[in-house]
């Protein structure tokens, strides 16, 4: 909802996501899909649309689309059809894109998004279809020319279309993040938005609550979640101003300008597109064997929603912590490796707290963590067996990150072993009480708050190494005596 002078408006958003399929070869040719090669070195005559060349479908790309559909709890259509979508652009050599129009490979799925305050919401998936990517045009290399590289032409894409179920920029962001997480778990798309492996188009319209849908505008090719949210907020505000000014929203295609933070009309698209879809005569309908689909279903990994539910049920984690841990499969695996046989909540705190902090600071991800699962486990074991206190453990952890040594080595080398010897603690307490005679009097006269002060002094006297529980108990005894 956004506020207007004439009352609130409901923002209605549907997203179309183009996700590049992870495969070695292209959708209809044997050319490589690897990113970053020299221009036009990964192009076959099929991709270049040389006359007489025929497309042959890559079965692995079909499997990836099915896998994704199953991960989105969608219907897999055992018969789908490839169509030609006709338009002219220099990076589309054939003059048409092979896509799926009336009969896509996947329909009717859902994604559950996690919103602030632990709220979960279902977002409908209308369809997922397979299509070819276009080549890449570079417009800034020459004053009068555009340069075209066809390496990307023909790489398999999954276009994933959501229902208009999203109601704010935040929800749109949560949807993209969740979809990306699911794709990464499935191993069907790497989700890298900078490299263009995941591209988002947003359809945005406004309406009064309960009224029919308003006229929508489509914001094309947004390549980060932050820009997507900015673009939606800007566009919702623009449409509100048009509507409240007595105008009508004109259906158009927009580009978001991140520099100015505004959306602009793409004039080239003003000419109403007529793609003249028709079934591609070079390709028979794609028919899938139900058993083949079933085999893919059986091979699916545990997905983020299931993993999260299991972390809550089996490890007693909060929904929030579980959600943070399952956002990346690598993080979830790391957590589980450490949590096995240990206090899972404590492990979750260490992973989401100190470890994430250290990774952020070092600009690393969990795969290249300076502290591996065995070492974090050893550190947590030393807390559990009371060799060190939780507070000292943080110091040990920092040293582990810095030096690469393990916890035991650092504890020994720096003499950080916890003092659990009652005699030593008793001596420290006696010294503190003797040195603070006046405060002891005040405490005994009823100033309870001073207890914390005494604890602090004893910890200081033992360089933080005294067992805090013992200190508390013994100090209470000594002060009441």
């Amino acid at each position: 909802m956004i506020e207007g002078a004439s009352g609130p408006w409901e923002v209605v958003i549907g997203l179309e996501i183009h996700a590049q399929v992870i495969s070695r070869a292209k959708l209809f040719s044997g050319a490589s899909t690897a990113f970053g090669a020299q221009p036009n070195t990964q192009v076959s005559f099929v991709d270049a649309a040389m006359p007489g060349m025929l497309p042959v479908i890559n079965e692995a790309c079909v499997a990836q689309a099915v896998r994704t559909g199953l991960g989105l709890r969608a219907a897999i259509n055992l018969r789908s059809v490839f169509d030609r979508k006709n338009y002219f652009y220099p990076d589309l050599p054939a003059g048409y894109q092979i896509s799926q129009y009336g009969q896509p490979i996947v329909s009717r799925g859902e994604v559950v998004i996690d919103l602030a305050g632990g709220v979960a919401r279902r977002v409908g998936i209308t369809r997922l279809h397979l299509e070819q990517d276009a080549g890449k045009s570079l417009h800034d290399q020459h004053p009068e020319l555009s340069y075209v590289d066809l390496n990307r032409a023909g790489v398999a894409l999954m276009e994933i279309v959501s229902e208009p179920d999203l109601r704010s920029a935040e929800e749109a962001g949560a949807y993209v993040r969740k979809l990306r997480t699911i794709l990464r778990y499935l191993g069907t798309c790497d989700g890298n938005m900078q490299e263009g492996s995941l591209r988002v188009d947003a359809n945005v319209s406004l309406r009064r609550l309960g009224a029919p849908f308003g006229t929508r505008c489509e914001i094309k090719n947004v390549n980060s979640i932050r820009f997507l949210q900015q673009a939606i907020d800007y566009e919702a505000g623009r449409q509100r101003d048009v509507l409240e000014g007595g105008g009508r929203v004109v259906q158009e295609t927009l580009l978001f300008d991140p520099g100015e933070g505004v959306t602009r009309s793409m004039r080239s698209k003003e000419e109403a597109h007529d793609y003249r879809y028709f079934p591609d005569p070079d390709l028979l309908p794609l028919e899938l064997d139900p058993q083949w689909v079933e085999d893919i279903r059986r091979g699916l990994p545990e997905l983020p929603d299931e993993k999260k539910a299991r972390f809550v049920a089996d490890y007693g984690l909060s929904a929030y912590d579980a959600g943070v841990l399952v956002a990346e499969r690598e993080t979830a695996d790391f957590f589980e490796a450490v949590a096995r046989g240990r206090d899972a909540k404590l492990v979750a705190n260490w992973v989401t707290g100190d470890l994430f902090g250290a990774l952020n600071k070092a600009g690393r991800d969990i795969a290249t963590s300076p502290v591996n699962t065995a070492r974090l486990g050893q550190l947590i074991d030393r807390i559990a067996d009371q060799t060190i206190s939780g507070r000292i453990a943080k110091e040990v952890f920092e040293a582990m990150v810095e030096t690469g040594a393990d916890a035991d080595a650092i504890i020994i080398e720096r003499g950080l072993r916890q003092i659990t010897d009652a005699g030593a603690i008793e001596d420290a307490i006696a010294a503190v009480l003797a040195a603070n005679h006046d405060k002891v009097q005040e405490y005994r006269a009823g100033k309870d708050k001073l207890f914390g002060f005494f604890v602090g002094q004893v910890m200081k006297a033992t360089q933080g190494k005294a067992n805090p529980k013992l200190v508390n108990e013994m100090l209470r005894g000594a002060l009441s005596g």
Binding site: N40, V43, A48, A60, S146, Y147, D149, M266, L284
Partner: protein, 95 residues
Amino acid sequence: MALDKAAVVRIAKLARIKVAEAELEPLARELDGILGWVAQLNELDTSDLPPMTSVVAARLPRRPDTVNDGGYPERILANAPRTEGGFFAVPKVVE
């Protein structure tokens, strides 16, 4: 006539074919004639028949996910009117 001059203009534009004004009317007549001839097929009742997408009773052939093509940029670029540094070079197209 079902297909008029305006439709021919539109089709020509979408197909990027330049048609002289004088040719539009005759072209509309011709195309309309072709469509009318094909439209005879509508006289058949096909309500119980699935659409036929191919004349061969075959399964769509599949290829394995193996890289076995590409690596010949000079052949890909051989027919291009202009190239620069391994790219096709075309008149500037900008959004």
